[in-house]
């Protein structure tokens, strides 16, 4: 059993990419061999025991999700990897794909066997052209070695894997929008139910999992679900977490920690060397730009799903964006809101119109033309978006605005009363 609590990070370098390295240094494809000798139910049980919770942002238990796939299906079943990595602040999956692509391929093979699928897709964001090429190279290697295609390892198991490139749309990280995009349509989220496990890609039962989630599967199968669960320091969160840390820290980058083993303060000051220029901390956005902001007084929270939910924010895709005292928070939330306005697919009126209104209001506050009633108006609009849209993009736009206005009200008021940004 591996002693290190880092499963991914030690292999994040160029030499780790080829199949030869993967087989020699990472027990490559031994988990597949083991899994093909197990029943699908036994694999799903192992995943349930592992307390693996989806790394894309929702944190849903992976084993439970796999268990939703019907055993019998008239239509083909599909396994889709969500490699859209579009939540601002997130860049961990890029490292998995460019350095350890075989980990993902093996994870998908095992997942496919567990749900009874013979067709998989990796939906990768269009901008990651280099990563798509590297994945295709690794897939070619796997085909050549008889690890993909027909009769894999002589067991009669077949699996074809295709990289499908997106084309620049944040919303395609939402799983049903992703499926539409995979089918050659506009990336507009679908009405749920039916959920993808009943009717997903091409109307077949479909599982959509994040890159990091799938890449952990070989290690779970090789070392056991209990081993993985115990890596985590909290009851319900197993394994390690890849953190994407960016913004005003001395050492931004991808880090790997046992789930629930550190507070945000420890991450910022110990792991990442502290705030850039030794300035005072103003804010931390803890889970991608959709996560409600935290003030410098709130960072003693354990960095994991439940503790963050308890204080009204979220861990999301484990992307922390750190902001120092001299950056204008009004400018920041205006930029975040502009993003959601740009990326709203336009299907739901509250999101389509509301994001634009919030952006306009934030724009005028930043420009010094804000009005006293604008802050309550912002909260009112956000409230009218939150929970009233087909997908989570609406909530993702509303949550940050509400939290910035509530937590940094004095900064907004200074803009409105002073007629300009006090830092300008």
């Amino acid at each position: 059993m591996p002693e290190s609590t880092q499963m991914f990070k030690p292999h994040f370098h160029e030499e780790a990419r080829p199949l030869a390295y993967y087989q020699a240094k990472m027990n490559g494809y031994t988990a597949l061999k083991k899994a093909l000798g197990m029943t699908p139910d036994a694999i799903i049980d192992e995943m349930k025991k592992s307390n693996m919770r989806g790394r894309g942002g929702a944190g849903f238990p992976t084993g439970v999700k796999w268990g939703f796939i019907p055993k019998q299906s008239a239509k083909p079943k599909y396994l889709v990897c969500n490699a859209d990595e579009s939540e601002p602040g997130t860049f961990k999956d890029r490292d998995i794909m460019r350095y350890t692509p075989h980990l993902l391929i093996e994870g998908m093979l095992i997942g496919a066997h567990a749900i009874g699928s013979s067709t998989g897709y990796i939906y990768i964001r269009g901008e990651y052209t280099r990563e798509a090429k590297l994945l295709n190279q690794a897939i070619d290697e796997a085909y050549a070695a008889g690890l993909l295609g027909k009769n894999i390892l002589g067991t009669g198991f077949n699996f074809d894997l295709t990289v499908h490139r997106g084309a620049g749309a944040y919303i395609c990280g939402e799983e049903t929008a992703l499926l539409n995009s995979l089918e050659g349509k506009r990336g507009e989220p679908r009405v749920k139910p039916p959920f993808p496990a009943q009717s997903g890609a091409y109307a077949g039962p479909t599982i959509v999992n994040n890159v990091e989630t799938l890449a952990a599967v070989p290690m779970i199968i090789n070392n056991g679900g209990e081993w993985f669960a115990k890596l985590g320091k909290l009851e319900k969160s197993g394994g390690t977490r890849l953190l994407s840390v960016s913004g005003h820290v001395k050492n931004p980058g991808v880090y790997e920690i046992p789930a629930g083993s550190m507070t945000i303060r420890e991450i910022v000051y110990n792991l990442c060397g502290g705030v850039l220029g030794d300035k005072k901390l103003k804010a931390v956005i803890p889970g991608g730009s959709s996560a409600p902001v935290l003030t410098a007084d709130e960072i003693d929270v354990i960095y994991d799903i439940e503790p963050l939910m308890k204080i009204g924010s979220m861990m999301g895709s484990a992307a922390l964006m750190v902001v120092s005292e001299d950056y204008c928070v009004v400018k920041l939330i205006k930029r975040i809101t502009k993003f959601y306005e740009h990326e709203s697919c336009g299907q739901c009126t509250p999101c389509r119109e509301g994001c634009k209104w919030m952006e306009d209001i934030l724009h005028r506050i930043e420009d010094g033309h804000g009005r006293e009633q604008d802050l309550s108006l912002l909260l009112d609009i956000a409230d009218n978006i939150n929970g009233k849209t087909l997908c989570a993009l609406g909530d993702a736009a509303a949550g940050p605005v509400t939290s910035f206005v509530k937590k940094f009200r004095a900064d907004f008021e200074a803009h409105i009363r002073g007629g300009k940004c006090p830092n300008a």
């Binding site: 601002p88 084309a167 050659g184 960016s246």
Partner: protein
């Protein structure tokens, strides 16, 4: 009518066809491949993509216009897409954009008169740990400064 898209395009599509249960699923890969040949997606090229897949030209446009990476207008030989999302802004992306606007004498969204450079602001590129980042055509450039950007641009013909 002679084809606008090359044999290479049709060969690549033929190879992809068995990977998908429907032909419409080829639309995104086909648009990527078509854009690789023209640098953008002229109307006639989109029509040909539609013919190949067997869908109405309007359906091709409906999809192409949804995604920001499909250029529905011609772009310069060098297409700069500077990320100005949160992490990059925190690390000085705004200054990079300003620097380019001054250098090229154009605003964001425009192309230089010699058709050499197109300047765009981009949403998050997923390279936040090495911010500020930008794409130059298909390639990422990270940890950028105005100086590094000037060096990079000076090496372009």
């Amino acid at each position: 009518m002679s084809k606008l898209l090359s044999q290479k395009f049709y060969d690549a599509m033929k190879k992809l066809e068995p990977r998908y249960p429907t032909k419409v699923a080829l639309l995104l890969p086909a648009l990527h491949a078509a854009q690789e040949e023209y640098g953008w997606l002229p109307g006639e090229v989109m029509n040909e993509v539609g013919d190949y897949i067997g869908i109405h030209p309007a359906q091709v446009r409906e999809v192409a216009s949804f995604y920001t990476m499909y250029n529905l207008k011609p772009v310069g030989k060098y297409h700069l897409k500077i990320c100005t999302n949160v992490a990059c802004c925190l690390r000085g992306a705004d200054e990079l954009v300003e620097h380019c606007e001054k250098k090229f004498g154009i605003a964001v969204g425009e192309t230089t008169p010699d058709k050499k450079f197109t300047l765009m602001e981009e949403e998050c590129l997923g390279a936040c740990g090495t911010a500020p980042a930008m794409m130059l055509n298909d390639d990422y450039h990270e940890n950028l400064t105005a100086e590094k950007l000037d060096q990079l641009l000076a090496g372009l013909k």
